[in-house]
Symmetry: C2
Subunit: 377 residues, 2 copies
Amino acid sequence: MIKSHDSFYMQRALDLAKRGIYTTTPNPNVGCVIVKDEQIIGEGYHYKAGQPHAEVYALNMAGDNAKGATVYVTLEPCSHYGRTPPCANALIEAQVKRVVIAMLDPNPMVSGYGVQRLKEAGIDVDVGLLTEQAEQINRGFLKRMRTGKPFIILKMAASLDGKTAMASGESKWITSSEARQDVQTLRAKCSAILSTSATVLADDPRLTVRWSAFPEKIKQHYPITDIRQPIRIILDSQHRLTLKEQLFKQQGQIWLIRKVAFKGEKLPDNVKIVVDPTPEPLINLDWLFTTLAQAQINSIWVEAGAQFAGALIQQNLVDELIIYLAPKLLGHQARSLCKLPHLNQLSDCPTFQFVDVTTIGPDLRLRLKTTPPDVSL
Amino acid sequence: MIKSHDSFYMQRALDLAKRGIYTTTPNPNVGCVIVKDEQIIGEGYHYKAGQPHAEVYALNMAGDNAKGATVYVTLEPCSHYGRTPPCANALIEAQVKRVVIAMLDPNPMVSGYGVQRLKEAGIDVDVGLLTEQAEQINRGFLKRMRTGKPFIILKMAASLDGKTAMASGESKWITSSEARQDVQTLRAKCSAILSTSATVLADDPRLTVRWSAFPEKIKQHYPITDIRQPIRIILDSQHRLTLKEQLFKQQGQIWLIRKVAFKGEKLPDNVKIVVDPTPEPLINLDWLFTTLAQAQINSIWVEAGAQFAGALIQQNLVDELIIYLAPKLLGHQARSLCKLPHLNQLSDCPTFQFVDVTTIGPDLRLRLKTTPPDVSL
């Protein structure tokens, strides 16, 4: 049974889990707190794939004292041998008395097995505390595990009248330097950044994470040596990139998605070609996202133009929409935010829900999620 | 000297002043609190032009007890004979000891005279407490007094991508019923509603305030018998309205702004023609707003199309921009929020500042003000 002080310790475990948000991919973020006699005697969080799980750090800190203690962990302890031995075993060996778990493992192959093993060992187990928060911090990992597709965040920037560039094409910068800095920290949380050759040719962006642009608060928990460049994935079906673009001069992996591979093409070490085998002339987005999820990519940050944004929205592939809104008006001749096919009726328009609105410098950042299908009868 | 508890009583006076926000035009909103021995012994607010000022209500309530008391009033007490005798005289006669005033009268002809008269009578006077709030509740009246022009609020409604209607023209309704209800209460605060014959012919709106659409909280202080229909001002330079539109079937005054008056035209009692004497074919907006201010119109709520919205913005006539933003995407073929002339550079684009963002049902309401000219060197 969940007790009133359980939430307090689970919240602490969730806060710890969040510290790994820039580093754990493809693994989930997990935090763990061990409590005995109302004292925290051990805590830890998962920092990086290949390094120990949260429970191991917490158990190490608690030592023999863990015997008879209560453990709070934000995700069901693993029961299988992966890169590290199963955490369920470690908890059993430490002879803890009770384990409180925010949510079960999303992998249908192993979900509930960790709980089962703990219970079989005579440990009290409670599942389902602050589950919504626990879901939120791992939404990329969870979506990949549950659906075999990554979590897709489409980022756009526009004026009040939904324009992204002047008629001339000038678009540097509609939003503020504060908004562009904010993009850095959100990019850094994702496993990959997706764009198109059209955008690369038009804007020549780097699409990297720049540690120097991070707020001090984040830098504290995320030293420059641990900076993880999200994989840059560029759709280049027509083979338009020359490898001389700025993008290629930055550190970090680049995957070019093409329809054809040319034998003998000389590529830098950090560039790889992934060929879409489907017959259509354009990249098949269903194939793409399935392939990327299979490559353990949890979440994708999309920065592209009106055409590709429109395609994603139209195919209902966007999980979260982020729009930086600048308090300017560009007028009817400027370029529109997204291209959609001709829609006959208002009721046919893609609809979202506002989740969060934040002031970023002089701009607003709107976060929206896809509206779930209407299930009312 | 302002004392610490003065803010408390002035806040009460401001809260009282706000109760008149739907009714006092063309007069300002004023609240008054009289305090003696840390007890409120009298309070009042101005409710309607022609009825007593706030100070009179408060003095009546305090009676002889006002002698030696402190008076908090949100606007400098008047010193001239208008529809009512000067409040400064009434305060002197009541032998109050001290008067605290949030702000001076904005009318340059009389500003400071009320204070002077009180001081000459030996009363302690403090000016300048919660001035920003006091300015805010009378921003229409203040702008008219200071500049000879009304305060202009431009209301727009759009999708996330800044579209106001489908390519087909369908626009009912992009925003929610909650947003449309919110419009009712904001319309009601203004002295007039301004639109164009193009909008009237396209949408056939009523442009009235519907008491039934008000939230209960507002209805309490604003009985249906006191409903004040803002004057509906329609630009009809080309004489396109037939007087058969829905607009004309509603209660409340309508002023048609035309370039020519036809002799012998038969008009309903509530309709009047105002002729723009300037030589250009379009209505001269400078003439219009000066004329409306001379007719004691403090604030104007504008609901019109992309063309007129663009004209107002381009001529820098908008004081506040209100955009209801629906979480939908209409695509590049839909109709844009405002028409602006061709702009060459981003730096030429009209720029605003976000003042307030509120969730209204599923939509957002953005309030923006014009950015003051950059005075940095």
